[in-house]
Every structure is written in structure tokens, then in C-alpha cells.
């Protein structure tokens, strides 16, 4: 795994009254253990990848408590595992990235929500929205509404987060409904503190297993149960949930002295709101606001009486609700109308319909609301002044810089083994003409960015091959290429894309990046992982493909670009029909460096003979065309000032981050670029044999060099 939590998991053992100081995901895990959870599962993906890593590193503690931990093959698998709580009084938790993960899970989720649960079910969903998000921008809220599940959006403060998760289990059991706890990107990685409680041993666990299987047709998704389940949702589960919310004061009501306006906010945005109010002079640093605020730690369902009660004596309320559609605003408006409360509801009129509610956006929206609603007792001019000044530094800086700064999107790491595959694809397309490339989810989707600009669409995790299913025949003899990672291959690609392509005899090329991990999410293990520590048998990708009936398979290392070029050309031109798969096999360099670096440092320190490899560019022979950079894009292949005073263009340069993967040299070779690249092998702690071998050789070379130098000097002086 990219990040180890081995040290931090000791925090999960803290007992009653002890102070926990650490990251949000650890706090969530601690809350699960304090709630007596029997099983945990999930599928990795930012921003909750590390939650899976924490589970994995906490395995000894989970074993001790008897908690089942089983990472799923995808989110549908994780959601399906929650079925344990349909018939049995066991608490469970599943984790995934949303909304993409919720999309994959939603078949199982709909059925789970219809059947209902007797054991508490909590899904921790990482809302990947706003800055740092890697997916299309949608809201999880819609899933809660359509399946009648509850959605919690806790105010980001560890104390509140932990309390909310505990309540979520009780709420789930009180209303027999699965509960989603939504955590946003920054909240997942929040470092803060709370007072811990003792962990609770689950009643049903590995140590005290179930004995009696339960069969209850009322819990099965077939008519007439399904009709009764739908009625049960309306008649019993909704009212139970609303009662629970009120009785446990899950939503927080912050009073204020300004009586005629108020703000209703999603819990996740409460801190940003309070900081904005403080900046406008309307709150102190401890959350005491002059404007009354209703913090919705539960955003679905809303409790109509709570909302109408909050609004009744106010002329206007602002609804702070990120993203679209504005479900909360609509629901609040309807509740007020039904109760004949005539408070004006403003939301998207003050705050933008699309995009993240950053501090800047929030401040502008709140100021606009206050200026428009003119509450008594607030110095509106002062509010307007602060809001107007906010943009000043940015405007001044932009004027000073006066040009667009270069963008810096994510890209392949130094030495990434996927880069050579795209370099090869670029060389092939330069020679043989462009082909349609279907991309997929994973690090390799960075190939859609410069310098490769490759991959015309991304449809979902493991769906790349399916996304080319219509285009492959429509392009006729010109074959299409699909690029898929091993993560996507196991997540969905094998069962969805490969099986259909084989069944339909689709003619096309599939490249599977077999780098040994689900890399983009933080190097979690997958069925084809080779890591030594991993439990269970390894299933090579080629074996899986053969079993599916694929006959044209080439498994190949990636760094030798000219070999990859040859294989690609063969795949694109062979007379053989059907699916052609290239398994591009090379370990994720990030994972490799994590393994190799400490070992190298140890050996170096111990005085052992070690060899380090680096690449370099001869600045004298480089002519500054940068073709090598356009074909590689390696972060360590960069620019430096041309040492020749007569040349103006900077030369290519390999910086000290080089891991010696060889790609730049191979590319220069395969694309016949230039003779400027060299590889240097440096021997540290050389042995006496090294020294003996080199002494006379270096002496001969030095003699010849000095002879040549003297001749050149003589020529220049002539």
C-alpha cells in the first residue's frame, strides 16, 4: 500500500476518556469499533481509499475483536455484503467513493433498502466533489431519495463525526433502514481530536458465530413482499427515522440575536459558513453566530416540523446546499408551503448552482443574502465592504503576473511503467496514422493529458472495452485500442468487457496495464498482485483471459519501447480476428521505490557494494527540440539553460529524481531522436576487484583523451 497506518492504528485501541489526536478516517474507524461493528468491507477510491488501508493495517485488532474484514471486488460486492444485516442483528459497514462507487453499488443498494435491515448498516461514502475530485460532479443525495435511505452529512469536527456515526447505527436499527454517512474530501483527511470511548466487542463475531439461519419471505425482493416493503417505508420507517432525529437532537440549532433571518446548512459546510460569518463580523471564533443557524447533520430525510419551527418567525432563510439539483431547498420550500409559513427561501439565488462551496464562494453568497434580506441590527455596509475587499489581492496579483500561469495537472510518476506504453502508442500512431483510443479509470487516464493527449472517452471503471464495442465494428478494418488497468480489469473489465467481446467476436485491441496493484487508489492488492505479504492464491491476468476464451495474448514488459511498438503494430495489423490483448506487465514504480529505496540505503550504510542507475542528457549534443519530452513526459526529464551561449532554446535535462527506468533512452532510440541520452551505473562501496579491474583501463583512456585534447588545442592555436 502507498501509505501505511501501522503506527497510527494504535490509536484505535484508546479507551474511555483518552484523547484521540489524528486523521478523520482513523476517527471514523474508531467510531465503528466503539459501535460494536461485526463486519467491514468496501472498495478503495479517493477520498476514502485510506479508510480501506486503515482496516487492512488494523487487521490484528479486528481479529482480536472478532470483526470480519473482507475487501470487496467492487462496490457492488461491498453493498451486497451488507445483506448480512437484512436477517441478522449484526452491525456492518461498507466504504466507497461516491458517486461513482454508489453507482456501481446501487443495484444491491436498492434491494437492500427495500428489504430493510435488522442490524445497523452504515455506508461511509467519500463525496468526491470540488477541488481535488477525480470524477464527474454529481450528488449522492439522489440515491438516498430514490431508495429511501438516510443520508448523514456530519459537521466536520471529530467529536461530532464520531458521535454521528454512533447515532447512525442506532438510527438504522430504529428505522430498519441503511444509513449513508457522507464525508467530503477535506473532511476525510482532517486532523483533529476527540475524547475516546472503549471499543465494543460485537455480539456476533468470529469468536461468537451465528448458529441459526433465518428465512423470512417478507425480506425477499419478490412480489408481494416488495409491495409491502414499499408501504413499510412510508408508513413506518420514515416516521421512525424522523422521530429518532428529533429525539436525539441530531441536527444542531445555533441560536443568534438577529431574529428575522436564519441559515440552514448541510453539516459538512457548517465550519466554512461559521468562518465566513466570523470574517463578516457576524460570529466569533467559537461558533457563536449572531444569525440563527440550523445545522443539518441529517440531510435526508428532513424533519418538516423542525424546519418550519426554525423558519416560522423569520422573514428569510438561506439554504446552504452544495451541488445540483437543489433537493434540500425544494424540500424546505415545500414543507413551508404545506405548513403555510411564508418565510422566503433563498439558496441558489445567492450561492452558485454548480461548483464547490469554497470559503470565497461561501463568503460572497452569505454577504449577498444579508445585503438582500436587510436584517435589523446588522451593519450591512460593513458586510458589503468586507465582501468587496476579498477579491482585491487576487486581482492585484493577476495584474502583476499579467499572463496565464502554466497549469499543472496530475501525471505519471517518475519512472512509471505505464508511460512507455503510451510512448509506444504515440510512435505507432505517428508512423501508421491515428487510431481511436478508449480510455478507462486509473493512473493511465492521465494519458488523456499532455504530452500524450490519448483516449477519447472515459465511461467508468473497467468499462473501457465496452465503451468501444460499437466503435470497433464501425471503424471497420481500422482497429480501435482500449486501455485498461489491472484494477479496472478485476473491478468490472473482465466480466463486462472481455466476456462480451469474446462472445460477439469483436475485433479490437485491449491493453491491460498489469502493474500489480490498484495503483491510482493507493496500491491496494488485487487478485493478480504479486506482493509477497498478500494472502491467498494469485490469479495471473493471462490465465483469466485464456479461461474467457481469448486466444491472442501477448504478455510483455513495458520499458523496452521498440518491443512494445512491435507488439502493438502486430496487434493492429494481424490477420487474426477477435480480441487481441496485450498485457503490459511492469510493477508500479511508486510501489517499487518504496520497497527498493530503504533496502539501498541500508546496504549503502552497511558498506555493501551497491549499484545505482541514472540517466542523463549530454547538454552539448542536445539541440533543444524536446521531442524526447513530448514522447515521455517524465517528471525527472526537464529543462535547463542551454550551456551554449549561442543557442537560445533550453536543453533537456534529467534531474536527481531519476530512478533509472530507462524510458528516456529507449524512447530516444525507438523514435530515433538523438544520441544525447546516456545511462550511468555508479558503484558505491566498490570492492578491491573493482578497483583492480578499472585502474589500467582508466589510465589508457585518460592517456588517449589527453593526446586528443593536445591535438585539438594545437589545431585551435594554428
Amino acid at each position: 500500500m502507498e501509505r501505511s497506518f501501522a503506527k497510527e492504528v494504535s490509536l484505535l485501541r484508546l479507551g474511555e476518556g483518552e484523547i484521540f489526536e489524528g486523521e478523520g478516517i482513523l476517527a471514523i474507524t474508531k467510531a465503528l469499533l466503539e459501535s460494536g461493528v461485526s463486519y467491514v468491507t468496501g472498495y478503495q477510491g479517493a477520498p476514502v481509499s485510506h479508510l480501506m488501508d486503515v482496516f487492512s493495517d488494523a487487521k490484528p485488532l479486528l481479529d482480536e475483536l472478532g470483526v470480519v474484514y473482507a475487501p470487496a471486488a467492487n462496490e457492488a460486492g461491498a453493498a451486497s455484503m451488507l445483506a448480512a444485516s437484512i436477517n441478522y442483528p449484526v452491525r456492518g459497514c461498507a466504504v466507497w467513493k461516491s458517486t461513482v462507487g454508489t453507482n456501481v453499488a446501487s443495484d444491491a443498494l436498492s434491494n437492500l433498502a427495500s428489504a430493510g435491515v435488522v442490524g445497523g448498516v452504515v455506508m461511509v461514502v467519500g463525496e468526491d466533489y470540488g477541488e481535488g475530485a477525480s470524477i464527474m460532479q454529481e450528488r449522492t443525495h439522489a440515491f438516498a431519495m430514490k431508495s429511501s435511505m438516510w443520508l448523514l452529512d456530519p459537521r466536520p469536527d471529530h467529536e461530532n463525526l464520531v458521535r454521528t456515526i454512533g447515532l447512525a447505527y442506532e438510527m438504522s436499527e430504529a428505522s430498519n433502514t441503511p444509513v449513508m454517512v457522507e464525508v467530503r474530501i477535506r473532511a476525510c483527511h482532517l486532523r483533529g481530536r476527540f475524547t475516546a470511548r472503549d471499543n465494543v466487542r460485537p455480539k456476533v463475531s468470529l469468536h461468537s458465530p451465528l448458529t441459526e439461519p433465518v428465512f423470512d419471505y417478507e425480506r425477499v425482493i419478490l412480489p408481494p413482499s416488495t409491495y409491502r416493503q414499499e408501504k413499510d417505508k412510508i408508513a413506518r420507517r420514515f416516521p421512525a427515522a424522523k422521530r429518532f432525529i428529533v429525539e436525539h437532537a441530531m441536527n444542531e440549532h445555533l441560536p443568534g440575536d438577529v431574529g428575522d433571518i436564519g441559515i440552514i446548512v448541510q453539516g459538512g459546510h457548517a465550519n466554512t459558513l461559521l468562518r465566513s460569518l466570523a470574517r463578516l463580523g457576524l460570529a466569533d471564533a467559537f461558533g457563536n453566530s449572531r444569525i440563527p443557524i440550523l445545522v443539518l447533520n441529517v440531510t435526508y430525510p428532513i424533519v418538516e416540523e423542525e424546519v418550519t419551527g426554525f423558519c416560522a418567525d423569520k422573514r428569510a432563510v438561506l439554504v446552504v446546499e452544495e451541488g445540483n439539483p437543489e433537493y434540500l431547498e425544494q424540500a424546505i420550500g415545500q414543507a413551508l408551503r404545506e405548513a403555510s409559513v411564508h418565510t422566503k427561501v433563498l439558496g441558489k439565488k445567492c450561492l452558485p448552482m454548480a461548483g464547490e462551496y469554497t470559503a470565497e464562494v461561501m463568503l460572497a453568497g452569505v454577504a449577498k443574502f444579508i445585503e438582500g434580506s436587510m436584517p435589523a441590527g446588522i451593519d450591512i455596509a460593513a458586510v458589503a465592504r468586507v465582501a468587496a475587499e476579498v477579491a482585491a489581492p487576487a486581482e492585484r496579483a493577476r495584474a502583476l503576473i499579467g499572463a496565464e500561469l502554466p497549469q499543472r495537472p496530475p501525471g505519471f510518476c517518475t519512472g512509471c511503467p505505464e508511460r512507455p506504453v503510451f510512448a509506444a502508442m504515440k510512435i505507432v500512431q505517428n508512423k501508421d496514422g491515428p487510431v481511436h483510443v478508449a480510455a478507462d479509470i486509473g493512473c493511465h487516464s492521465f494519458a488523456t493529458l499532455p504530452p500524450f493527449n490519448m483516449g477519447s472517452s472515459i465511461l467508468g471503471y473497467g468499462l473501457g472495452l465496452s465503451s468501444a464495442a460499437a466503435l470497433a465494428p464501425l471503424f471497420g478494418k481500422k482497429r480501435t485500442i482500449t486501455v485498461m488497468g489491472d484494477g479496472g480489469f478485476w473491478h468490472n473489465g473482465l466480466s463486462t468487457g472481455v466476456s462480451a467481446a469474446v462472445q460477439n467476436g469483436t475485433d479490437g485491441v485491449l491493453i491491460v496495464m498489469d502493474n500489480g496493484y490498484s495503483s491510482a487508489t493507493g496500491q491496494q492488492d488485487i487478485p493478480s498482485s504479486r506482493a509477497e505479504k498478500r494472502e491467498g492464491p494469485r490469479i495471473p491476468i493471462e490465465t483469466a483471459l485464456r479461461a474467457m476464451g481469448v486466444t491472442w495474448i501477448r504478455t510483455q514488459g513495458t520499458y523496452v519501447v521498440k518491443d512494445m511498438v512491435r507488439t502493438l503494430r502486430e496487434a493492429l495489423t494481424t490477420k487474426e480476428g477477435g480480441l487481441k490483448v496485450i498485457v503490459a506487465q511492469q510493477e508500479c514504480q511508486l510501489a517499487r521505490q518504496r520497497r527498493v529505496k530503504p533496502e539501498y540505503a541500508r546496504a549503502l550504510k552497511a558498506g555493501e557494494r551497491v549499484v545505482r542507475t541514472r540517466y542523463g542528457v549530454d547538454a552539448t549534443t542536445c539541440t533543444g527540440d524536446h521531442s524526447c519530452i513530448r514522447l515521455s513526459g517524465c517528471p525527472s526529464l526537464t529543462l535547463k539553460e542551454n550551456p551554449d551561449p549561442l543557442r537560445s532554446d533550453p536543453v533537456a535535462h534529467v534531474n536527481q529524481d531519476c530512478v533509472g527506468c530507462s524510458l528516456c533512452g529507449e524512447v530516444a532510440d525507438a523514435a530515433q531522436l538523438c544520441p544525447s541520452f546516456y545511462r550511468a551505473d555508479i558503484v558505491s562501496n566498490p570492492t578491491r576487484a573493482d578497483a583492480r579491474r578499472l585502474r589500467w583501463r582508466d589510465a589508457v583512456i585518460a592517456r588517449l583523451q589527453s593526446w586528443a585534447e593536445r591535438r585539438a588545442e594545437a589545431r585551435a592555436a594554428a
Binding site: 471564533a285 487576487a394 530515433q672 555508479i682 588517449l704
Partner: protein, 489 residues
């Protein structure tokens, strides 16, 4: 106290911005200060630009009597106390987003550049003009604490920057709490050293003076040049003459003088400005010292280069270094070494049979005796060079180009002459890159220069058309922009 203290860290994936955040949060916790840190993980960690954000209360928990400060999760423009940036353009980006304001922000930034892909992949020089960023960095913050790249050389930059921030006293965390937080983290010894380095930096570091290499002199030619060339051209001659003498011979250097004099004669030098001649002199030097097999062998077998590589890869004295060259000579290189007639015949054959693009991959170990001797012997082919196909071709192309420059200058089209003089910039690289450059050069000559010279003298738009065609040729390797520019011209 009425508001929390805020710190924004701007870094690129893999630079240790997360570790830096952990140190600050950890140190604040050690000092019993209420603190909250957050980050934007995810894809940005793969080399993209990313930020980390910290808020803390400057007084310890016990003074708060049970109250909990509300901390923000992201920076607000005009409301950030400290910005730490690991790179210059990223520091500029923080200014541009409004996070650096004159009333409160202390900016701790490294002045090093890490080039973005768009800057690196330009065919010419695509680097962002750092002077623009420096303007913002000097004016926007309350205090700018810049750390020169060389000050952190070989040390963990995140720890150096933390030290620099700590020395400023703007964050109320005791030094020992910071040290303890670093000691509890990864690679404590190296990071503590780097932290102390940063702590010791009390102001902007002087930039290193540019290295200047004294050159061997060619007495006669240089004296002649000094006596007869205008200063702009002489500056080039001082580099050109020794370079060409080493490259081929003193006679070859004399050819350079003769060619430059021809242009000088035609150069009207408006207002005493010899820019045209200087540009021709510069381009002529680069072109005449074209990079051929012999030149590369000369360089790759030289003692100076061996020393350069040892320094570049940071090999310590006594550590053996093996150097392996990535070369791929093809038929084109072989042909270039033959006399013109057989060379051309070989090229025709290679083109006809599609072998022109191929090449033989050569992994040559220039530090072994056999590898070194091959390069050394190739370098000895220097006297043979004037009899080769490449020599003949380059010489003819140079003469044709000079003729065009002189033609334009002679008829008073000074601006056009300068643009033609700058055209050899398109000629660079090896193999396919070199062929592409030659195609572009020929296309601009035929499509823009020749029509301009065929038309009436004094067309004020002619120079612009040539300049646009040249820039278009550098816009994309497929020459789509060039075709467009020539079609419009």
C-alpha cells in the same frame, strides 16, 4: 485572540507537503495548541499541484476553558497568515488565487522551478517568464521569505522551508516542539538537519554567479576580428572562431569570417545597429558546427564530458561509473560519412526500401576500452569530414540561405533579412527530428521567403509572414500550423 492562525501549504505530489503538514500539526499538538489540518489527496498526488491547509489557535487548550474553536477546511482569499510554497510558479498561483495579501501573509517560498509539461514540451523555449511571478511575490505578501534553490540543494526542501518559517517567528510553536515533531516522523536525522539549515537562513540568498569558461584563442583570426568587426558581431566571433577551429580547422574558422564579412557588406546597419549581422553570425556558427557522427564521437570520448557526468550523477571519488550510450545509427548516418555520389546512391536505396527510418540500436559502453576506442576512432575521422556527403549538403544549404539574407538586405528589406537570418532555428535534432526540421526550413523558404523576394521590395508585411511561418513550424511536430500559415500567406 479573535481568529485562528491559518497556514496554506502548496506543493506538488510527491514533494512531502503532507509530511510538512503533519510536522506542523504534530508540533502544535505537542505545544497543546488547538489545531486542525486537512489536505486534498487523490489524483493531485500524482505529480499535480496540490494544497494542504492548517488552522490553529495561538493559545493552548487550557486557556480556552472548554470552548472549541471552529476551524475552516479551506483557505479564504485575504485571510491566510502563512503560505509555504515549494516552487516559484506555485507561489505565484497562491498570489493569483488571493491567498497572499499585503496586510497579513508571510510567504515562505522556494525560488526553484519545476517545469510544467506544457513548458517542457514546447519545441522552442516554452518556459514561463519568472520575472512576472517575482513581481507578484515581491509586492503581494506582508513579508516574503524566499529560499534560493541552492540553499536547499541535496536537502529535504519541506524541512528547509519549515525551518525558514520557524525562524520568522510568525507561528507560535516553540522550536523544540517542531524538532520533536520532525524527530517522531520519517527520516528524522536528515529532516532535522534540513530544518536547521532553513532555520539558519535569515534572508534571501545571493544567486550564484553564472559560470564563464575562458576560451583558447586563435591569435590571428581573433586579432583580425577584434580589429574589423562591430562589437555585436565580435561577441559572437569570440565564441565562434575557437569553436570552429576545434570542430574542424583554423581554415574552417576563416571560412566563417569570410561568410560573415559578406553579410556585413550588405548590412545597412540602421542607426549603427548590427543586429542582422550578429544574428547571421550566431546562426552560422551553430550551423557550421553541425552535429554529425564525428562531432558526437569527439564529445562523447572527451575527458571533460567524463568529468561532467561524474558530477551530474554525484559519484563520489573512487566510485566507478559505467556510462552506456543510447545510440541508433541508421543508413542515413552511414551515407552522411560517404563521399557525395555513393552517399546519395545509398540514401536513395534506403528511402526506396523503407530502411531510412530504421536504425541499429547500439548500447555503447563508453567507459570500457572497446567502447571508448570505437568512439575515439570515429572522432579521428575529422580530417575526412570535408569529403563527405553531409559536408557538401550543409555547405550548399548555408550558401543558399546566406544568399537570400544578402539579397533581402541589399534591396533594403532589413526586417525581412533579419527574419530569414533567424530561420536556421528550425534546424535541430537528429534522425526524424532533423528531417522534420529540414522539411520545415525548406517549406518556409519556398512558401514564404521566395515569394517575398520575388515580390516588390519594401513590402512591410513580408517580414511578419516569414516570422509567423517560423513560429508556426515550431507550434506542432505534425506541421499542421505551418501548412495553415503558409496557405494564408
Amino acid at each position: 485572540m479573535t481568529r485562528p492562525l491559518s497556514i496554506l501549504v502548496s506543493a506538488m505530489g510527491g514533494e512531502g507537503g503532507g509530511v510538512l503538514t503533519d510536522w506542523i500539526v504534530g508540533a502544535a499538538q505537542r505545544a497543546d495548541l488547538p489545531v486542525q489540518g486537512t489536505s486534498i489527496p487523490g489524483v493531485a498526488q500524482r505529480t499535480g499541484a496540490t494544497t494542504y491547509y492548517i488552522e490553529m489557535w495561538p493559545e493552548p487548550w487550557p486557556t480556552l476553558a472548554g470552548r472549541r474553536p471552529v476551524f475552516g477546511l479551506g483557505p479564504s482569499p485575504g485571510d491566510v497568515d502563512v503560505v509555504i510554497a515549494t516552487e516559484l510558479v506555485e507561489a505565484g498561483r497562491c498570489c493569483e488565487r488571493g491567498f497572499v495579501s499585503p496586510d497579513r501573509t508571510t510567504l515562505v517560498a522556494s525560488t526553484r522551478r519545476v517545469f510544467a509539461t506544457s513548458e517542457k514540451s514546447a519545441m522552442g523555449d516554452g518556459r514561463f517568464d519568472v520575472a512576472r511571478v517575482m513581481r507578484a511575490i515581491r509586492e503581494m505578501p506582508r513579508r516574503a521569505l524566499l529560499v534560493d534553490a541552492s540553499a536547499a540543494e541535496g536537502q529535504a526542501l519541506n524541512a528547509v522551508l519549515l525551518g525558514r518559517m520557524a525562524a520568522s517567528g510568525v507561528v507560535p510553536i516553540p522550536l523544540d516542539a517542531l524538532r520533536a515533531a520532525i524527530a517522531a516522523g520519517v527520516a528524522p536525522e536528515a529532516n532535522l538537519r534540513a530544518f536547521e539549515t532553513g532555520l539558519a537562513l535569515s534572508g534571501p540568498q545571493p544567486a550564484a554567479a553564472p559560470a564563464s569558461a575562458p576560451r583558447a584563442s586563435l591569435p590571428a583570426l581573433l586579432a583580425d576580428a577584434a580589429a574589423s568587426l562591430p562589437p555585436e558581431v565580435l561577441a559572437v566571433a569570440d565564441i565562434a572562431l575557437p569553436r570552429l577551429a576545434r570542430y574542424q580547422s583554423a581554415r574552417y574558422a576563416a571560412t566563417w569570417m569570410e561568410r560573415v564579412r559578406r553579410v556585413l557588406a550588405a548590412d545597412p546597419a540602421p542607426g549603427g545597429n548590427w543586429r542582422l549581422s550578429a544574428e547571421v553570425a550566431r546562426q552560422l556558427t551553430l550551423w557550421m558546427a553541425y552535429e554529425d557522427v564525428v562531432r558526437i564521437a569527439q564529445h562523447k570520448s572527451s575527458a571533460a564530458r567524463f568529468a561532467e557526468i561524474r558530477a551530474e550523477v554525484r559519484a563520489r571519488p573512487g566510485e566507478p561509473v559505467t556510462v552506456t550510450e543510447h545510440m541508433k545509427p541508421g543508413w542515413e548516418e552511414v551515407a552522411s560519412l560517404l563521399p557525395p555520389a555513393p552517399g546519395r546512391a545509398l540514401l536513395r536505396w534506403a528511402e526506396r526500401t523503407g530502411r531510412i527510418e530504421g536504425g541499429m540500436s547500439l548500447r555503447l559502453r563508453s567507459t570500457t576500452l572497446s567502447g571508448f576506442l570505437r568512439l575515439f576512432l570515429l572522432a579521428r575521422l575529422r580530417p575526412w569530414r570535408p569529403f563527405t556527403l553531409r559536408w557538401a549538403e550543409e555547405g550548399a544549404a548555408i550558401e543558399e540561405w546566406l544568399a537570400r539574407v544578402i539579397q533581402a538586405a541589399a534591396r533594403g528589406d532589413h526586417a525581412l533579412a533579419i527574419e530569414i537570418a533567424a530561420l536556421p532555428r528550425l534546424l535541430k535534432g537528429y534522425g526524424e527530428t532533423y528531417r522534420r526540421g529540414r522539411r520545415a526550413f525548406a517549406a518556409v523558404m519556398k512558401g514564404a521567403v521566395e515569394p517575398a523576394l520575388a515580390g516588390p521590395a519594401g513590402d512591410p508585411l513580408a517580414a511578419g509572414r516569414v516570422a509567423r511561418a517560423r513560429e508556426a513550424a515550431l507550434a506542432d511536430p505534425e506541421h499542421a500550423a505551418l501548412r495553415g500559415a503558409l496557405a494564408n500567406a
